[in-house]
Symmetry: C2
């Protein structure tokens, strides 16, 4: 126990430092350096507990401080104290979600929490089904799997050979997991048709069986919301399963100010919503919600008699494991549940509204500032703010290929410098015909206006000589 | 911080109690009772930190003490202090495995640990590839996915419609996840052929393309090991991908005394091995190991430009996320790595040997004891000991249908009583033509001979009147 308390002391120090702006976000080392910096190898003989504590300190020394108020690199940032405590409790309870027998409280909390999330989606009385799954990509794959089963239940036994060729649709900037899922399920990536919404779904004329349409509520790079009401109409007309990938945007359902961006989600057949993104729940916490009850169970159940005995002494409807693709399943619900109790819906709302307000602050600061170009017009719909930083040497250049090829190199160099100084981290990427640009996202409620100001100054400091 | 320390104090008390034999394994309540016992609902308004602490205490009050030395219910039992500390550190670091950029240490530790595991499998120099995935079922599904891709790489783009019909093979008592995987991948459960090994794979005469054979090293109920050398010969002859599901049995590779049971595993194309089972690593920790390097990457990659930028300033081979089906991926490696450092390979060996010795002790105690019948002949190969307890009222009965139907009810009633008293927990199930029997498994190094003696006494105490 004193060993555990020693580790806790190390962790508490780390957590405090994570929020300290004078601490580096990262103490960056190249992979080969880091491999040589310390002996990480596994051996036959044990180490002492003193050495184990040193391993912990060393690991944390090189870790990214994802709770740091100037870490903006991913959609999941921040470190919530109640969420962390809940994750620690989950580890100590060390159980598995497949049966009520071994996870009585957690199974009930999953039930309570998923029902509440379905209520917020807008399904009457929170009806339906769902599961916490290991990430949004798996949640999206579940949705596609269930949609296929709903249309052709014989696929479970007979396989794809017994059913018509399928086609799935997704909007242009949707997450790559829709294609990954289609590859895994045997539909094939060529049968995932990227639709531009303004073309009125012309591609819906495909001859293949239309099993699935994934709309995106909050795209990964732009934070854009597909027009869900129009999509719901199309899905209804063509009898297509409507999925909403709200992994990133789902959190806005907690905000009375912003939830209109998801209007129409209540008409979806399934929804992915990752509380580990916009709601700041520790990784991982992703929910798949399904409107029709019982479908997940029929689709995935295999009736393993060693787990789901039919002669147990309690109500077997609480043995929910057979609706999952996984057998063992980590307890991901408790951290969300406990944070929800601690903040209330209104607390989540306040932190989400704050992050969106910060994104608008950033947008307003740079939209007309010298040296910045916005990647898309208009205010951000989510906290994604996409922009190019144009170093002085490029500002007077004509918009030609040379400028493009020089601009392409700006963001990677600034990002590399950010990491070497360890002062902040923001993501960048190319997209379509647009060369590398910064994608700023804000999901950490510890971030402030000063951190946004800092980011702008830092980009200018690191990029002015390029 | 004082809140976090308060939670830690609650958790440390819980952990100490988990190992105390005078504490109940479970304070059992029926689902409806438990729902009413406390207000678990989510509300608009926040609770105080005092209330949050009460939520934690209440959750733990009704949780199963999976670290209790008399909790034998699942393949994953026990609570390792270093593993727990490592999981707490993982939560505090709160990052994602997709890129080196945001998980530098953890990516390297995954590399080091998977290579070590492949060495223990017996692949030269630990060559190959792998990933930690959310549980053995997903690891097995990965293996099937990769095998299909190896045989027909066009399936990724073109789907199952473009390739021949597939058939997969698995041994008789294999885990249900092989079928779940086949259903999900569009192969269909009817195309999973259960083979009896003594029939010399007669079913291999199927006309469909033979893409995959899953052998089991440590079946879930019996703990049996398929003859891997013979299976490797067959797979070689028919050019079938050989997968070994060692989710449960893989741990025996750590034991010089028992690893011969997996002889032939070095000839497999892929291996599932769950350190969260026999090695006592906290949930979840499952590895999929693949002999051919690069195949996982080709099979699953989608080149998302917002994550896997090609112009980063470090060696991109450490951005391993694109080989996963998941996008975000929880850090599951650190708890295994830190435990391995703390115990050394020899420490894992000692705890595994001890669990197998305890299983043999149980087997020797009951094999000729009045009131017990063994389900299969001979010593257990793993820690699974399968037996019927025959109450006095059944002992002199003829072996007829009435006896069967009465015997069928014995284990469920004893199990229900165990849970109501909270004294111990063991699993039971029917299997094939065998009515409900107990499956005892031992994976908790805290268990002792006295706990085995207790279990026998307790079954007799709770079952003698039946």
């Amino acid at each position: 126990m004193s060993f555990l308390q020693d580790v806790v002391d190390i962790l508490l120090q780390y957590v405090v430092k994570s929020f300290d702006r004078s601490t580096k976000v990262i103490d960056f080392h190249y992979p080969n350096e880091l491999l040589q910096e310390y002996n990480w190898e596994l051996a036959d003989q044990p180490q002492t507990l003193e050495e184990i504590l040193l391993n912990c300190r060393t690991t944390l020394k090189y870790a990214i401080k994802t709770g740091h108020p100037r870490y903006f690199n991913q959609l999941s940032t921040g470190l919530d104290m109640v969420g962390l405590a809940a994750d620690w409790l989950t580890s100590a309870a060390n159980t598995n979600m497949f049966t009520y027998e071994i996870a009585p409280v957690f199974v009930l909390l999953e039930y309570v929490t998923l029902r509440k999330m379905r209520e917020m989606v807008g399904w009457p009385g929170g009806c339906g089904d769902g599961i916490f799954s290991p990430g949004g990509a798996i949640s999206n794959m579940y949705a596609m799997l269930i949609a296929r089963f709903k249309m052709f239940p014989e696929v479970k036994e007979k396989g794809m050979a017994a059913i018509p060729r399928l086609v799935a649709f997704t909007s242009e900037h949707s997450h790559f997991s829709v294609k990954k899922g289609a590859a895994a399920l045997g539909i094939g990536t060529d049968s995932v048709i990227l639709i531009r919404l303004q073309e009125e779904f012309g591609l819906l004329r495909s001859d293949f069986a239309k099993c699935f349409l994934s709309a995106t509520a909050g795209t990964t790079v732009y934070g854009a919301f597909d027009p869900l009401i129009a999509i719901a109409d199309i899905c209804k007309k063509y009898k297509i399963w409507m999925h909403v990938d709200g992994a990133w945007g789902g959190g806005l359902l907690m905000s009375r100010k912003h939830k209109w961006k998801l209007n129409g989600v209540e008409r979806a057949n399934s929804v992915t919503w990752n509380p580990h993104k916009m709601m700041g729940v520790p990784l991982q916490c992703s929910a798949l919600l399904v409107r029709e009850e019982g479908l997940m169970q029929s689709c995935n159940q295999m009736h393993a008699s060693y787990l789901f005995q039919q002669d147990k002494h309690y109500d077997l409807s609480y043995d929910t494991g057979d609706k999952a693709l996984q057998c063992g399943r980590h307890v991901d619900v408790f951290k969300l549940w406990l944070m929800w109790r601690a903040k209330g819906t209104t607390g989540f709302e306040a932190q989400i509204d704050k992050c969106l307000e910060l994104a608008e602050y950033l947008y307003n600061k740079i939209k007309n500032r010298e040296g910045y170009e916005m990647v898309f017009d208009g205010k951000p719909q989510h906290t994604n703010v996409c922009f190019w930083y144009i170093p002085p040497s490029l500002r007077s250049m004509e918009d030609n290929e040379e400028r493009m090829s020089r601009l392409m190199k700006v963001a990677p160099v600034i990002k590399a410098r950010m990491m070497e100084y360890g002062t902040t981290m923001v993501s960048y990427q190319p997209l379509g015909d647009k060369v590398n640009f910064f994608r700023m996202v804000i999901s950490n409620p510890a971030a402030t206006h000063q951190d946004i100001d800092f980011l702008i100054d830092e980009i200018e400091r690191l990029g002015q000589d390029l």
